[in-house]
């Protein structure tokens, strides 16, 4: 029951977030699914720094693959798929600790949050890098075919 509610809420949130960014409606199904899978993997991997990295890798890879399959740009998929994994909760808890003057707690949670954002960015960098090496090869080969 818990997993069903979580799945529905994550997918719906990703969908409406995508709509907020004027995302084309035909891509919403993919981003909702990728967003949910990414979040589940984040939870399965233990919600630590490594979890952010693994989940970011997974989301980045899936987005690049789907974007190539449906021939749209990757950015369309990446932004709303990654949003459930972005550490908003850590951000809030850091601020809560600061407002309660528990500075040692704030520092600990804050560092975890910044580390999480860094891990996500690193994972996205890696997937984009891998695919940007593949992409030019593909493009030149397409070019020759059309000529």
């Amino acid at each position: 029951m818990d997993i069903v509610i979580r799945a529905i809420s994550v997918m719906a949130a990703t969908c409406y977030f995508g709509l907020l960014l004027h995302q084309p409606k035909s891509t919403l199904v993919f981003t909702a699914l990728i967003g949910w899978l990414g979040y589940e993997i984040y939870l399965l991997a233990g919600s630590g720094l490594l979890a952010f990295f693994v989940s970011g890798l997974f989301v980045g890879l899936l987005c690049e693959i789907v974007a190539r399959k449906v021939r749209r740009t990757t950015t369309l998929f990446l932004i709303s798929s990654i949003i459930p994994t972005v550490p908003g909760l850590g951000l809030y808890r850091t601020m809560m600790a600061i407002s309660e003057n528990k500075l040692d707690m704030a520092l600990k949670i804050g560092l975890d949050t910044i580390g999480g954002i860094g891990a996500l960015a690193l994972a996205l960098t890696l997937t984009t890098l891998v695919f940007s090496i593949i992409r030019p090869l593909k493009r030149t080969s397409n070019h020759k075919e059309t000529k």
Partner: protein, 251 residues
Amino acid sequence: MSILEIESVTLAAQTILESSGETYRAEETALRMAKAFGLTEVEIIAFPTGFVFSAIYDGKRENRVCRITERSICLDRIDAVNAISRKAVSGQIDARQSHQEIKALREKPDVRPWVYCLYYALAAGFFSVMFGGWIIEFILAFLIGWVVEAVQVPLAMRQVPSQVRPFILGFLAAFLCVVALTFLSASQESIITGVIMPLLPGLAMTNAVRDSIRGDIISGVARGADALISVIMLSAGVAVALMIRGSTWIL
């Protein structure tokens, strides 16, 4: 005096940058379209805040400078300009047609603002459920999310700097939540986190990464700094609201 080929290329680049597209995308689109329209010695250098374009048309060098002041996130526009440029490159449409198509795209009336309030409210509500909320949390996050987006639209229209907006909105979200929770009992954590989730600069972060990889160091660093400032301002807004509660209301 205006040369349609050049107008069409610069309009495409301008539209991409105004919709928060990646810098390399604006440059590549402009280069490919310019080549397709028969311009030679094309050079373009783009930043998140503007671009310089130069090309030889009819034996004469033409230069254009464009400053981009207001940026919003419109993924569908980036996608549409991409499609138009692809058509132009493959020769299906000429410069006049592509100019008209991009112009039509830019003038297309936006959906009514309240629809975006609804989207924001629903996104906030579902995010709060995702963070462990339930029906009361959903309803509260929905209402607060609606208010936050309803405030964001006029702020953007009055051209309040985009780095100040997250502070105001984060403060508003946390403050409204704190006020509401003096009358009701619900999970404050899931509501505030749910409402601020859509304000996090996911796009700026992703594009910073993508621009840096392409070697656009200036754009990458600029966007990275933009994302960082937004996050700091947002957190500061939330923290201020929580501190007000800590100092005035004794719960």
